[in-house]
């Protein structure tokens, strides 16, 4: 094997790949070839670096230079300047938005400073398609320790003591789940990895599988050892082709290295992993629905109990954990439960990966310790609200979660605090909203998602959510009444109270939390027929303030429906019967003469 003196890490996450990172990689290879440096400098397509806002990312080791928004055309310059001459390409370095100073390494960036990367420890560091690199970073050491030095009970105790809870949303103690499945008596048991990540905007599981698939494979084998299963299944949505590809490569390599298969590491422990594809139904993230889908049945949940730990895949005891949960396991074994438990809050240990999105400067994937505040996430890591606007709310937990307001900015984030605040951890979607967001419309947006994704098995979720949506629609159309608001709350509560699975039991959360925190906004819609955020088209009117209008004709020229009339250099006028409320005039006007009311 060649001894490389330098490594060029190119982000191979789905986002950066979409921005031609593969071409960047091949350009690097071509240029290095031309210089005859191929044996000295290695180019690797890694997993996601997390800082998607500034992708594609290229990182140069050993000096840790972190280049942002690299294009395939930039490759020559990086090679000529950085590699050959040893000078950083200044213009591709991250610029701190406040100080305007360039920052050359990740450690120096606010985006990374407050992060602790456990589940994402290898993402962006190793070539996920090379098992040696994973092994080089202590990979499969934990499995070796478990198989040769520890009994299954010992391992379960470590996981229990670590305080690790399920990262898929439910937050069930992982060690306890393993223990329950271990206690079930059966000739066959299964370990299932839930990689059916369905929250809109969340992509931590995909990133882990794309960036560090071996961590999940190793953890599944450890789990199999603990519960007494020799078979693992990864349920992954078919629209994650890159994750599937890398997982397949990883499974093959692990098998070749004797880390999967029969007699692993010379012990009598056998474990193999198969992949099962999902068709991308959100509800299949619910473990009973997932199991039904794997069995070839319609992906819909069934009543629990029996829990999968007693009766799961093919009626056999099955332990289902999510990707991120598994990714934590090897580190917990290697570093010990006390180390892991030292991170986080009293009841929520370790870290959580969030997909930061919405009206925020630094969109991306972050891993932060439990107990961090929303303020730290949004302002320190996320770089604050886009365009300097006002923070309004943050939606956590995806479509099952709720909206939190300013008053929660300093609440330490953990499973229990989020639930107490009317939201939830979910799988870690975090969408930041600024003052231009209408909260009624936001609730409607999330409900529309659940409506599409409900399996339709139980009445409250199938019809209740539909009616809930229709009431919200009525309100945003300006036809709502005050009675509708109490009806919304009542119906939401019944849906939560009576739905069969977690999807229905949480689907009204966006409605309830916005009703709780933004009741005035709802009230404005139904009593004064106005949308305070100016978002609900039916309630908005664009008018031109004659005093400010200079008659520049810009609005007139841009109106797509010819609703604006007026003479040059004299005030213009909007014909309300023609206006389609597209808002172009408002955006184009340079004199703030277009008013929204």
């Amino acid at each position: 094997m060649a001894e490389y003196t330098m490594h060029i890490l190119v982000c191979g996450g789905t986002g950066c790949k979409a921005s031609q990172s593969e071409l960047i990689k091949s350009n690097f290879k071509t240029r290095l070839n031309e210089y005859g440096l191929s044996d000295e400098i290695q180019v690797i397509l890694t997993g996601c670096f997390g800082f998607c806002e500034k992708g594609p990312i290229v990182k140069i080791l050993p000096d840790n230079t972190f280049y942002t928004q690299v294009t395939p055309e930039d490759v020559s310059e990086i090679i000529d300047e950085h590699i050959i001459k040893g000078r950083q390409v200044e213009r591709l370095l991250y610029k701190d938005p406040e100080t305007q100073k360039t920052v050359s390494t990740a450690n120096g960036m606010d985006f990374y400073k407050k992060q602790i990367r456990i589940a994402l420890r290898n993402c962006g560091f190793i070539n996920p398609e090379n098992i040696e690199e994973y092994i080089g970073r202590d990979g499969y050491g934990a499995l070796g320790t478990c198989l040769t030095e520890k009994s299954p009970e010992d391992v379960i105790r470590i996981v229990k003591e670590s305080g690790l809870r399920g990262r898929g949303g439910g937050g069930f103690p992982t060690g306890l789940k393993w223990e329950l499945t271990r206690k079930s008596v059966s000739d066959q048991k299964y370990v299932v990895c839930n990689a059916d990540e369905g929250d809109p905007g969340a992509f931590m599981d995909r990133s882990i599988l794309e960036g560090d698939p071996h961590s999940v494979i190793e953890a599944m084998a450890i789990c199999g050892y603990c519960i007494g299963a020799d078979k693992g299944l990864v349920y992954i949505r078919a629209e994650y082709p890159l994750a599937i590809e890398r997982l397949k490569i990883a499974i093959r390599q692990a098998s070749e290295y004797g880390l999967l298969g029969d007699g692993i590491l010379g012990t009598d422990f056998n474990f193999s992993i198969e992949i099962r594809y999902g068709a991308g139904a959100f509800v299949c993230g619910e473990e009973t629905a997932l199991i039904h889908s794997m069995e070839g049945h319609r992906g819909e949940p069934s009543v629990k109990p029996p829990f999968p730990a007693e009766k799961g895949y093919n009626g056999k005891p099955t332990n289902v954990n999510n990707v991120e949960t598994f990714a934590n396991i090897p580190v917990i074994i290697n570093k010990g439960s006390a180390w892991f438990a030292s991170i986080g809050t009293e009841k929520s240990k370790g870290t959580k990966v969030f997909a930061l999105a919405g009206n925020i400067n630094n969109v991306g994937l972050i891993e932060v310790p439990m107990g961090i505040t929303l303020r730290e996430i949004i302002y320190d890591i996320g770089g604050g609200i886009k365009d300097g606007r006002e923070f309004k709310a943050v939606q956590t937990g995806g479509p099952s979660g709720g909206c939190l307001t300013k008053s929660f900015l300093d609440t330490p984030i953990d499973y229990d605090n989020l639930v107490a605040a009317g939201s939830m951890m979910g799988s870690g979607g975090m969408i930041v909203l600024d003052d231009t967001s209408c909260m009624v419309a936001i609730a409607k947006f999330y409900l529309e998602f659940t409506l599409d994704e409900s399996c339709g098995k139980c009445t409250p979720c199938r019809i209740g959510n539909k009616r809930l949506y229709e009431i919200l629609e009525k309100i945003t159309d300006g036809k709502g009444t005050k009675e509708d608001l109490s009806r919304l709350r009542m119906l939401s509560n019944v849906i939560k109270d009576t739905s069969l699975c977690g999807l229905g039991q949480t689907s009204p959360n966006p409605v309830l939390s916005t009703l709780d925190h933004f009741y005035d906004e709802y009230l404005a819609h139904v009593t004064t027929s106005s949308c305070p955020a100016g978002q609900c088209k039916a309630l908005v009117h664009y008018t031109i303030d004659a005093e400010h209008c200079t008659g520049c004709t810009l609005c007139f020229r841009n109106c797509p429906v010819g609703a604006i009339s007026g003479e040059k250099r004299s005030p213009h006028y909007i014909d309300q019967s023609l206006c389609i409320k597209c808002g172009v005039c408002f955006e184009k006007c340079k004199f703030d003469a277009v008013l929204i009311a």
């Binding site: 139904a281 509800v283 319609r298 819909e300 069934s302 009543v303 109990p305 409506l451 599409d452 994704e453 409900s454 399996c455 339709g456 098995k457 139980c458 009445t459 409250p460 979720c461 199938r462 019809i463 209740g464 959510n465 539909k466 009616r467 229709e470 009806r487 009542m490 119906l491 019944v494 939560k496 109270d497 009576t498 739905s499 069969l500 039991q505």
Partner: protein, 583 residues
């Protein structure tokens, strides 16, 4: 057995481990309403998706309400079934269902027999507080079953019957969310599917989403057409159930009243399918004995076991799923079709009515009989042997339209010659009956000796799969019985694998046999009704003076005057059929 202590509505109750809240409550007189849930006791049929959420109750310490039908009791559990929270949730759920339901109760085929209607009434729903989009689907009409799935409430009972019980697998949930509904794959029409028309989906549908094709109008028109002679045949299971439609206790035999009613409706001759059942025994029994004798004589080519062929859903089932076995079932037509064939030849000649002017109506406990009568091989020059096959329920509607006070009717007798029958024919209406009737005749013909006994208890019962060995005077005859197509499938798979030990197998598609047919009065999940009908059938058998098919004098006469001998060429032409590969 581990016992669990709990309280329901503050009443203490002790039940075995594994009992549901619903069952525990019913034991102490607390009747928690259910909608999707259905259980046929002792028949291994249960639909328990936990989907409708009508039966939700409050369990202390649990965050959400729990469905009583599928929540098992735990030690110390405190259940409250009618708190304001539970009642409000229950009513809201029903209102939600109603908000997506066509409000055409007054003219719906299920009006008065609808579980959803009952539930709205039971809960005192007086206003539907929700409105919005309603599900709209096209109506799907097949030869036997109509699907009007605007009325589907996703209870999944039909799905349980079609998949778990019948293993036919036509109906299942499709689409998601608000658009989720039960339908054949790709929302195709039933008649493009492998549907057997067994009608068990219809039998359990709580609403008007699945109903039989209604042919009462056509029959009324035929009855009022002066150029037509209209005759009717009634299947054995009808007489044990028809009374239920008029408020009579399940299991009340109404043979005489039924005949009287049919006569009052204007049928020119009221005959009995039982006559044709006796004829079936002659044909099928002879076929069995022929194959059996050849087998005993060492003929390796002979196909055994022989399978009964009276049930049209069963016939369609094996044509779709086991076409390679289509040489095994008896070639004898079903009693309905034997009747039609004889009526439109032998009887038409007798009364000198042209085939085209003779209308044969049958009253069946079955919806598949509608399909069977429409099969082209049962027509002559486009004129079907059986013109209309009505269900028991349709006959009740006719009687009501005829302003007939059913309960007050006198008992009347069937007309002759196609109205005479034996006890052996009556028991065709229940699982085990056809094979018992066949045994009574085959034994005497095979051994040349009179039967030492007439009741074969070992062939009776409600177990889905039964087997018995009957001693034919030294020759043991192994008999298998299956009701429900899922059970039939098991026996067929044994035959495919060459592991079947049976000489003869009786198969009926519907659980319980024809007494539980898809055309019978709705049982609403009460298995006791089926058992009562079964008992009625056997008591009718016991009351008959002649109880062996080959002793039916009109059958003997039919062979003498017309057919010659069983399995003769003429018999083959008129009374036998062939099967098709529909795979």
């Amino acid at each position: 057995m581990e016992m669990i202590n709990l309280t329901i509505d503050n009443k203490p109750v002790v039940v075995p481990y594994g009992t549901t809240i619903l069952k525990a409550a019913s034991g102490i007189g607390i009747d928690i309403p259910t909608l999707c849930y259905m259980k046929l006791d002792d028949m291994n049929i249960e639909n328990k998706p936990g989907g409708c959420r009508v039966c939700v109750v409050e369990v202390k310490g649990r965050r959400n309400l729990s469905p009583a039908c599928c929540t098992e009791v735990t030690e110390g559990m405190e259940v409250e079934t009618h708190t304001i929270r539970a009642v409000n949730a229950r009513r809201t759920v029903v209102e939600l269902i109603l908000s997506d339901h066509p409000a055409d109760c007054l003219i719906c085929a299920k009006s008065g027999n609808c579980d959803l209607q009952d539930m709205a009434h039971h809960l005192g729903v007086r206003k539907i507080h929700y409105e919005g989009e309603k599900s709209m689907y096209r109506e799907d009409t097949s030869p036997a079953i109509i699907r009007e799935i605007d009325k589907c409430i996703m209870c999944r009972r039909c799905e349980t019957m079609c998949n778990d019980v019948q293993t036919v697998g036509v109906l299942s949930a499709v689409n998601r969310g608000f658009h989720a509904v039960v339908a054949p794959a790709f929302e195709m029409n039933l008649d493009h599917s492998v549907c057997t028309y067994c009608g068990q989906c219809v039998a359990v549908c709580p609403t008007g989403a699945l109903t039989e094709v209604d042919e009462t109008g056509a029959v009324i028109r035929a009855l009022s057409d002066p150029t037509k002679t209209v005759i009717v045949q009634t299947a054995p299971a009808v007489r044990a159930a028809l009374g239920e439609e008029f408020g009579m206790e399940a299991g009340t035999l109404v043979t005489g009243k039924m005949v009287a009613a049919l006569r009052r409706l204007g049928f020119n001759y009221v005959f009995d399918t039982d006559f044709a059942a006796d004829l079936t025994i002659m044909e099928e029994g002879t076929e069995l004995l022929t194959r059996l004798s050849a087998f005993i004589a060492g003929d390796k080519k002979v196909k055994l076991p022989i399978l009964t062929s009276c049930c049209p859903a069963w016939v369609k089932f094996f044509e779709h799923s086991f076409p390679e076995l289509k040489d095994i079932p008896s070639t004898a037509r079903s009693p309905q079709q034997m009747f039609g064939s004889i009526a439109k030849t032998y009887f038409a000649d007798k009364i000198e009515v042209k085939r085209e002017n003779l209308v044969v109506v049958s009253i069946m406990p079955c919806v598949a009989k509608k399909y069977e009568s429409s099969r082209p091989e049962f027509s002559v020059n486009g004129n079907p042997d059986v013109d209309f096959a009505l269900t028991t329920r349709e006959l009740a509607r006719l009687i009501k339209l005829g302003n007939i006070d059913f309960k007050a009717l006198p008992n009347e007798d069937f007309d002759q010659p196609l109205g005479e029958s034996t006890g052996a024919a009556v028991i065709f209406g229940t699982t085990g009956g056809v094979i018992e009737a066949a045994v009574r005749t085959a034994y005497e013909i095979f051994t040349g000796k009179p039967l030492p006994r007439l009741d074969f208890e070992e062939l009776r019962g409600m177990d889905g799969l039964r087997k018995a060995t009957i001693d034919f005077n030294g020759t043991p005859i192994h008999i298998g019985i299956a009701h429900g197509l899922g059970n039939a499938r098991k026996l067929l798979e044994e035959i495919q694998a060459g592991k079947s030990e049976f000489h003869a197998i009786e198969i009926m598609s519907c659980p319980g046999g024809c007494i539980g047919g898809g055309g019978q009065p709705y049982h609403h999940g009460d298995a006791e009704i089926l058992k009562k009908r079964q008992r009625a059938i056997y008591s009718e058998d016991t009351n008959k003076t002649i109880r062996k098919s080959h002793e039916n004098p009109y059958i003997t006469k039919l062979y003498e005057e017309f057919l010659g001998a069983p399995n003769s060429e003429k018999s083959h032409h008129l009374l036998h059929t062939k099967y098709f590969d529909r795979s």
